[in-house]
């Protein structure tokens, strides 16, 4: 089992550029999550989804968009990259809200 796969692993963007961080899981989990982790800090929830077609905002959704067209995929979109979005982004999935979350290896994003 691949688990949760995130691509790319690293990316450098210029201010104002856009990009999509990809996340896919092969565990047939209903719940999927996007977190960001700034250096030396904890994880903050950006968006989450409880199933295909359903998404909701987390603690820090501004500047991001998500979609969930399939159970497997949960891409995160940055429309106008800003230096404040430099961070490590983690995608996770779980069976439901009370089951443990399985995390990907993260995407390191730098915006210059």
């Amino acid at each position: 089992n691949a688990g949760v796969t995130q691509t790319p692993k690293f990316r450098i963007l210029k201010i104002g550029q856009s990009m999509t961080l990809q996340c896919t899981q092969d565990m047939n989990h209903n719940y999927m999550y996007w977190y960001r982790q700034d250096p030396g800090m904890g994880l903050k929830l950006i968006y989450y989804s409880v199933g295909a077609g359903i998404t909701d905002k987390g603690e820090v959704p501004n500047g991001y968009n998500v979609s969930r067209s399939t159970t497997e995929d949960f891409p995160l979109r940055l429309e106008l990259a800003a230096p404040s979005q430099t961070s490590v982004y983690f995608c996770a999935s779980s069976t439901n809200s009370n089951q443990p979350q399985h995390f990907g290896d993260g995407t390191r994003l730098s915006i210059l």
């Binding site: 949760v4 999550y33 904890g42 994880l43 929830l45 603690e59 996770a92 979350q101 399985h102 290896d105």
Partner: protein
């Protein structure tokens, strides 16, 4: 929303028992408290989860008092490989919308 508090760091020696406490208020009713371990440049990894009283698995124990306003992760006989950051995760429900609140994390350093 629930708010969590953990000690920023702890040092221990190999073979000792380590207890890390997470304080959390406004935890959603009937929801689980989950603990994760994170090594540098990796996503968090599930350690243990519980709802009340005590839970034990092959790597840790989790103690949750009756008021559920805190939880204590207990690592028996730590080794150098347990050096990592430990996070508690609590769901927080407001008007039926879930937010997943990670603690600030406790940086555990195990010394030889």
């Amino acid at each position: 929303l629930a708010k969590t508090t953990q000690p920023i760091s702890m040092d221990s020696y190999e073979g000792q028992e380590v207890n890390i406490t997470c304080s959390h208020n406004n935890i959603a009713t009937n929801d689980y408290i989950t603990w994760y371990q994170q090594f540098p440049s990796q996503g968090p990894r599930f350690i243990i989860q519980g709802y009340k009283t005590k839970v034990t698995n092959e790597v840790a124990s989790l103690f949750i008092p009756a008021d559920r306003k805190s939880s204590t992760l207990s690592l028996p006989r730590v080794s150098l490989s347990d050096t990592a950051v430990y996070y508690c995760l609590v769901p927080s429900s407001t008007s039926g919308t879930y937010k997943y609140i990670f603690g600030t994390g406790t940086r555990l350093k195990v010394l030889a």
